[in-house]
């Protein structure tokens, strides 16, 4: 386990020292500008829209950072050959995969948490109250980021950084379009298309399972069974992705 922690620490430090947290400034500025300009057009709904918008931007920033930093950090290790000295040590390749996953995950978790706190601060400045219930979104954001990180690690174990980033974006977009895909599968009359659509629906990660943002923004209670299902689904999917990544990474050659 100490070897996983060493790789985790290294990945986390590398990300931090790349000034990833400067993104927070852009995030805060965006929220402030939107909140100022939103007020006259929101017809009294500004607080709710602001909550929904803040959570949506937090999620988008978190995922984009995951894709950009995730694919870059992993490939830099391989392309710059920094990974050679690590793999020559008595380290299992699965430990490298897990250490990278945890390091990047912790980095993004820190970023998302900081963004949520900035969001709270802006709500407080505008309305004089905090809305701590919105922070419930944090674990679901983390699970979504974990699944995306798993996908990035999987593709980096055998493909280029460009392809990894593209696949990250594709899986993010399709992952949130899964309910539409299911509707299509249910409604199409073409039998072959129905099978293909259901195939994709059950195989690809369904990221909409982790989206409780609107419910939270409008104070709608979260259904317990759906929450439990989402957590289990996310954890199992991530573990599966990391397992497949390790299998591929163990066979990978460094030419």
């Amino acid at each position: 386990m100490h070897r996983v922690i060493a790789i985790f620490e290294n990945t986390f430090k590398e990300g931090l020292r790349q000034r990833i947290l400067s993104l927070l400034g852009i995030f805060a500025l965006l929220l402030i500008v939107v909140s100022v300009f939103l007020e006259p057009f929101a017809l009294g709904e500004a607080p709710k829209i602001m909550r929904d918008f803040g959570l949506a931007v937090t999620s988008l920033f978190g995922v984009l950072t995951t894709i950009i930093i995730g694919s870059a950090l992993i490939h830099r290790d391989i392309e710059k050959r920094t990974i050679y000295t690590v793999l020559a040590k008595p380290v299992r390749r699965g430990e490298v995969v897990l250490g990278k996953f945890l390091g990047l995950g912790a980095l993004i978790a820190l970023l998302v948490l900081a963004m949520l706190l900035i969001h709270q601060l802006i709500i407080f400045v505008q309305e004089g109250v905090f809305e701590p219930s919105l922070l419930i979104v944090f674990p679901f954001e983390l699970i979504e980021v974990s699944v995306i990180l798993g996908i990035l690690l999987l593709f980096s174990s055998f493909s280029s950084s460009t392809l990894t980033s593209i696949m990250g974006v594709i899986f993010f977009v399709t992952g949130h379009a899964m309910p539409d895909l299911k509707l299509f599968a249910e409604s199409t009359k073409v039998e072959a298309l129905k099978h293909v659509a259901y195939g994709f629906y059950y195989l690809l990660p369904n990221l909409s399972n982790f989206n409780f943002r609107t419910d939270l923004a409008y104070n709608i209670p979260l259904p317990a069974d759906q929450v439990i299902f989402s957590v289990c689904y996310g954890v199992i999917y991530t573990v599966f992705l990391l397992y497949v990544t390790t299998l591929i990474f163990e066979r990978r050659e460094f030419k």
Binding site: H2, R3, I5, A6, I7, E9, N10, K13, E14, R17, Q18, K80, R81, T82, Y84, T85, V86, L87, A88, K89, P90, V91, R92, E253, F254, K255
Partner: protein, 261 residues
């Protein structure tokens, strides 16, 4: 099925072949055409050859970064992928790039932990002093000179007190002072009984530190033997240094195969 001698060599390669193709539409290029060698305990072995001869590919096979197409590899009687074998190896890759954001101390600490060292702090400080980087231990590696990077690279290879040091072109790109420092480190390790396998195309340096050398040209071992024997061989053919003899060997092989360098 690979069968090795009961009296295991530290490294044993038997008829290692390996080919590569850069793109799927290209024809495979044979890089190693049957490399066989044995490295004995406690010796400094120089693996010499011109650029593109197959030195780095051989080293990557020994360290488990790539697999041979055919042939057998044994490190301390184990496969290169065995964690027990890796525990006894220290490796410096060719033209290494390290984690630039880390300081010298942090970099060595990570490799100490990965080498399963419990008292890593003491060992890290000792090594930083030994490679002359104690004053720069809190400086990020991005600010290190080429010579300093090479020294911190050797320090990470030595961190686990390995029985076998594998150094890929450790002297390339260094100024005379840097080369002297690295050679001194190699000789110091040798005096402690560490087996050292290092590749180079800088022959005078190999002459200074090696007990035995193997010369690889176009993926084949052309000559292998004691340094003194090969030097004598060169002198008998009226060659003043190993370098002159080596250049002749490369030219002869290229002419024989109808290729040019």
């Amino acid at each position: 099925m690979c069968i090795f001698n009961a009296m295991q060599a530290v490294i044993e390669l038997k008829d290692i072949k390996r080919s590569f193709k850069n793109h799927f539409w290209q024809k495979k290029k044979q890089v190693l055409e049957g490399i066989s060698l044995q490295i004995r305990e406690g010796e400094v072995f120089g693996f010499l050859g011109p650029n593109g001869a197959g030195k780095t590919t051989t080293i990557k096979i020994i360290t488990g970064l790539i697999r041979p197409d055919s042939g057998c590899v044994s490190i301390f009687g184990m496969t290169p992928h065995s964690l027990s074998a890796k525990q006894r190896i220290g490796f410096l890759p060719e033209s290494p790039y390290f984690y630039e954001h880390l300081t010298g101390y942090e970099f060595l600490k990570i490799h100490a932990v990965l080498s399963n060292l419990e008292k890593y702090k003491e060992r890290t400080f000792t090594l930083l002093e030994r490679v002359g980087l104690k004053d720069a231990m809190h400086v990020q590696l991005r600010s290190y000179s080429r010579g300093m990077l090479q020294r911190i690279g050797i320090a990470q290879a030595m961190i686990g007190s390995p029985d076998l040091l594998i150094l890929d072109e450790p002297l390339t790109g260094l100024d005379p002072i840097g080369r002297k420092e690295i050679k001194d480190l190699i000789l110091e390790e040798k005096s402690k009984g560490t087996t050292i396998f290092f590749s180079s195309h800088i022959l005078p340096d190999a002459e200074a530190v090696c007990d035995r050398i193997g010369i690889v040209i176009q993926g084949r071992i052309k000559e292998i033997g004691d340094m003194s024997t090969l030097l004598k061989k060169g002198l008998q053919a009226d060659k003043i240094t190993l370098e002159d003899w080596f250049v002749d060997q490369v030219k002869a092989t290229a002419e024989k195969r109808g290729t040019t360098r």
